[in-house]
């Protein structure tokens, strides 16, 4: 199923102190598709997601071995600038976390720190990003209002727009809908359909139905291991591994 890979991970091991949290992960993630990571809590799916933009670097006592290749270049190679890496690999978090500033400033934050000062250019980026996150029409009249005044679902789409504003190639989403109501959730799921036309999307979800709905490929993690990774349809209809089958049929979770 793999023609080219946007991200290739080889023999990745991650340790939190003595805790071996990810074991020999090998995976290839397709470009311009949605890849979902599923698995029970504590299986390492979120941790693995964070290795893809090196957010784990911020945690103390983390040791990472192996390679993560983004367009064939190892992002853990010495001399890699994480600020440039994270500009390419954007992230949306579990809890909507807009900055306590206006909607406009939230979106413009990324472009500004990367050196864009021109007002007209910023206006353009803000509008484009908000449209990209399907929230422009809802907020266009109150761009100067504090983003914290929006509903949780709107805040999360602001966060997606904020991530889009730095023109990433990959978008990592860490359980982006787990704090949202069903209507907001379905809006964001619809949005993923559009996002994958331009971006490589990787989503962590604890919700198997969500993976079925949005993901082209799905990876099942258990206790720090990648158990099975296939096209979503195949994974859910013909699981190859007993553990995958047990999980998706709800025998544990």
């Amino acid at each position: 199923m793999m023609e080219t890979a946007k991200i290739k991970v080889k023999k990745l091991n991650l340790y939190y102190g003595d805790n071996h949290a990810l074991k020999d992960i090998d995976i290839k993630i397709r470009p311009k598709a949605v890849t979902a990571f599923i698995g029970p809590s504590g299986c390492g799916k979120s941790t693995f997601l964070k290795t893809l933009n090196r957010m784990n670097d911020l945690v103390e006592n983390v040791k990472i071995e192996g390679e993560v290749l983004l367009d064939e270049k190892d992002i853990y190679a010495p001399g890699v600038d994480t600020t440039i890496l994270r500009k390419k690999v954007g992230m949306v978090f579990q809890q909507p976390n807009p900055f306590p500033m206006s909607i406009y400033d939230n979106i413009a934050y990324g472009p500004r720190i990367h050196g864009i000062k021109d007002k007209r250019k910023l206006d353009e980026i803000v509008e484009e990003s908000l449209r990209g996150a399907a929230i422009f029409d809802e907020v266009k009249d109150r761009l100067k209002k504090n983003a914290l005044g929006l509903s949780g679902g709107q805040q999360q789409r602001i966060c997606i727009a904020r991530a889009l504003a730095v023109c990433p190639e990959v978008l990592l989403m860490d359980e982006p809908t787990s704090a949202l109501d069903p209507i907001s959730t379905s809006k964001i799921e619809d949005l993923m359909e559009d996002l994958k036309k331009k971006y490589t999307v990787v989503i962590v979800t604890h919700n198997m139905q969500q993976a079925v709905r949005v993901a082209d490929d799905t990876a099942f993690f258990l206790l720090g291991e990648l158990i099975e990774f296939r096209e979503t349809k195949l994974l859910f209809s013909y699981p190859q591994d007993k553990r995958t089958e047990d999980y998706i049929t709800g025998r544990f979770g």
Partner: protein, 302 residues
């Protein structure tokens, strides 16, 4: 039945004890306010508001006494503002260092040191200023005003010394309050900033500090209050002449004015000193009102 009555009695007694305590606090505030106004206003009448508040000559024991306290008010304002201008950036950056940059080991040394700074009695600060700062200031003064005919030499007791001492004294307040509000900023916000490719310094200045703004402002205002109210330390280093607050002038603050003359003042002179106290009291009240506003703001938004 009897038991219930007993419980009721205990409840009632406890309630009234709490009530009495609360009333004592309110009574104290009210009586101080009334007392200050009652004692501080007569001089406004006997000397005249303009002559008193905007007069620049202070000669209470002269044959024709003059009671202008403008320079004293200005000294308090300028001295406090300058010490805040120095102390707040240093304090804020120290707080940033403690919470965002230093490793735990270093923070474990710096943090208690700053707490200790808050516990040192102000007279010790004055002593250090007297022994270390003033001689240094005297050297500078001799260099700068070598050829000046108008400058009155102070031996180093001047406004700058007072400002430096005050700046150091407000540091712990600013550092502690700012650090705790920086710590309260959600790790989620920092993560969002890093995930957009921001560096640590960009994150600190563009996300963390703005998010902690109201807490930091509280620290600043508390610092202003501390600087305004300080008497002992600056009494020892500021010189004590009533003069326009220029850096190398020997100056007198509202607080040090009371400290140095209350002991012997009589009649109108004494009344005027109470007015000085009233002015100080009003300044402090304004600072506290601002503080309460800030705290309310901090609770409602963000």
């Amino acid at each position: 039945m009897k038991n219930k009555a007993k419980i009721n009695a205990v409840e009632k007694t406890a309630k009234s004890i709490f009530m009495i305590c609360a009333v004592i606090a309110i009574f104290a505030v009210c009586s101080i306010t009334i007392y200050m106004i009652a004692k501080g206003t007569p001089a406004l009448k006997s000397v005249g508001v303009l002559k008193l508040l905007f007069g620049t000559s202070w000669a209470p024991t002269a044959n024709e006494p003059a009671y202008g306290i403008l320079y004293i008010i200005l000294t308090s304002i300028v001295g406090t503002a300058a010490s805040v201008l120095i102390g707040v950036p240093v304090g804020l950056l120290t707080a940033v260092f403690l919470t965002e940059i230093s490793n735990k080991k270093l923070a474990a040394i710096v943090n208690p040191a700053i707490e200790l700074l808050a516990g040192i009695p102000s007279v010790i600060y004055g002593l250090l200023g007297l022994m270390l700062l003033n001689p240094f200031m005297y050297k500078m003064e001799k260099m700068i005003f070598e050829d000046s005919d108008t400058h009155k030499f102070t031996g180093g007791s001047n406004l700058i010394s007072a400002v430096i001492v005050l700046a150091i004294m407000i540091l712990p307040t600013v550092v502690n309050v700012s650090a705790s509000s920086l710590r309260a900023v959600s790790a989620n916000l920092r993560a969002a900033s890093y995930a957009l490719g921001a560096s640590k310094i960009q994150t600190v200045f563009k996300v963390t500090i703005p998010a902690a703004k109201s807490g930091i402002m509280t620290g600043v205002v508390l610092g202003i209050g501390r600087a305004l109210g300080e008497a002992m330390a600056i009494n020892m280093v500021a010189g004590g002449s009533v003069q326009i607050p220029l850096p190398f002038n020997s100056v007198r603050f509202l607080t040090t004015q009371l400290v140095s003359e209350m002991g012997y003042a009589e009649g109108v002179h004494r009344q005027v000193l109470f007015t000085v106290g009233l002015v100080l009291y009003i300044f402090i009240m304004v600072v506290n009102l601002v503080l309460q506003k800030l705290r309310k703001g901090a609770n409602t938004d963000e």
